[in-house]
Amino acid sequence: MDAAFCAAWLEAAALAVAADRERLTDLDAAIGDADHGANLDRGFSEVRQALAAGGPGQPLAVAGVTLIRKVGGASGPLYGSLLRAMGKALGESFTLAGFAAAFQAGVDEVARLGKAVEGDKTMLDALGPAARAVAGAVRDGAEPRAAFERAAEAAREGALATVPLVARKGRASYLGERSAGHEDPGAASSALIVGALVTADGEA
């Protein structure tokens, strides 16, 4: 696996976010401030531009810095830090095990920055299970394709599992009990982004 795969992943994630932009914003309207789709779509457009500009650096690191610098809101620095941490941990080429470790490092960074734990009804509820799924696949000696499919499945399940939760972090927490019954927008976008690993792997 190599940097080209990372670039393909980011491209696939950008397309997935653009396609579901409205759904993400609607989810955010229900328990937040109705901008999550707009934020991420703006952010990944900037990422595509930054990558197209073709500067130096691991694509994930470039994308991470771009998100941190261009998006704002909660999701900008959080997704930005996820990708930047992954980019830092990965070189030009790496193994699936290396990817799994980098993924976990990124997720840890999100948790550290956001002071959140799984169950708080945030993107972590999709990202955490996804990172563990990749690590599990590595342990099972699975191919990348299978690993990413398991991660995508775990992220989707994790996102859906946020529905009954009462939010303890992010804007949704302001709603208290009323936040229950809605899928967390960040968890939903995380499921899209993790799902894009499968698309990218299919293309590679």
Binding site: A34, D35, A38, R42, I68, R69, G73, P77, S173, Y174
Partner: protein, 326 residues
């Protein structure tokens, strides 16, 4: 969606163009609003910022006696670290810079990242978290920052203007926040330009209690009621958390779409409530100051004054949104 805009993506840039054209006392560069006069040597610099859509907060409070710079993000989206870093470096007069940050995950994250990355400037921060509608707990994101931000910016700004050192400005800023509480009620949802439709639907006979300033739904719905009763709900919530006595600074703030005549009606009720509790409205502000786009509704913010804070409140201020004494 019917708005006076050119296109949803250009809202913030176009509005900043208008601000710059309307206020020669301001300078706008790279999405940061500065005092045109530039930093003053030896004065602590004050930088705030947050999502746009709350005008006049924050850019309308840049000027003598208040902020040195404001960093407006996209609508309801915190600014990015680059803006904050640029602002912090530009306004430093050698005495350090205070970041005034409303307590939202996005705002705190971006200001923290910026503070970490700003070189050669002493930076202190104050977190504004006055909204009693939100439970304050170690296990949640904590209270939102809403109306008290204006109080913090005004009083810390006055102190900085008088030449106080960074630590003292930061301490008073935190004290103002500690003495302030807010509660908001919406009659209608706002419509973000990006979404193009109201964030929530509210039947014609209901209101949202305990709203923030981003069109988030509130803690619960209740039947619409006369101004007297809505004012009482808001003031009960404040009083429950910050018992009212002595001299108070009270702001009745419109959410952007509520006309002044209604805000005065609410203020009359709030003032009567305060009097009935044996306290006194010593200073007040009635108007649209910390808004949520076109939302109809109001919030009340109360700050328990002491002599020093009263002096800081009364000190001269000259900004597009707040001006007296010069």
């Amino acid at each position: 969606m019917k708005k006076l805009i050119n296109s949803p993506g250009e809202v913030v840039g176009d509005a900043l163009k208008g601000m710059a054209a309307a206020h020669p006392s301001l300078r706008v560069a790279d999405r940061v609003v500065y005092r045109a006069a530039g930093p003053r040597a030896g004065k602590v610099g004050l930088v705030s910022g947050g999502g746009s859509g709350h005008e006049p907060l924050h850019a309308g409070f840049v000027g003598y006696g208040m902020l040195d710079a404001a960093c407006p993000g996209e609508v309801f989206t915190s600014p990015v670290p680059d803006q904050i870093i640029a602002a912090t470096q530009a306004v430093d007069g050698g005495a350090g810079v205070l970041h005034i940050v409303k307590n939202y995950t996005g705002d705190t994250l971006n200001f923290e990242l910026a503070a970490d990355l700003t070189e050669g400037v002493e930076v202190a921060g104050v977190l504004v978290d006055d909204d009693v509608a939100v439970q304050d707990s170690l296990y949640t994101a904590g209270r939102r920052g809403t109306g008290a931000t204006l109080f913090v910016e005004k009083m810390a700004g006055a102190l900085a203007e008088q030449g106080a050192p960074l630590a003292q400005v930061a301490r008073v800023a935190a004290e103002v926040d500690g003495r302030s509480r807010s509660f908001g009620i919406a009659l209608t949802s706002c419509t973000t330009p990006a979404a193009g439709k109201p964030t929530f639907d509210l039947p014609d006979d209901q209101v949202e209690l305990g709203i923030g300033i981003h069109g988030e739904p509130g803690r619960r719905r209740a039947p619409h009621a006369p101004a007297r009763e809505l004012a009482e709900v808001a003031m009960d919530a404040v009083h429950h958390d910050l018992p009212l006595y002595g001299d108070l600074l009270v702001m009745v703030n419109g959410m952007g779409g509520t006309p002044l005549i209604e805000l005065y009606i609410v203020f009359a009720e709030v003032e009567a409530y305060v009097r009935a509790k044996g306290a006194r409205v010593a200073r007040s502000l009635v108007g649209n100051y910390v808004t949520s786009l076109d939302m109809q509704g109001f919030s009340v913010t109360v700050c328990r004054l002491d002599d020093e804070l009263t002096r800081l409140w009364d000190a001269p201020v000259e900004t597009p949104g707040l001006r007296w004494g010069r």
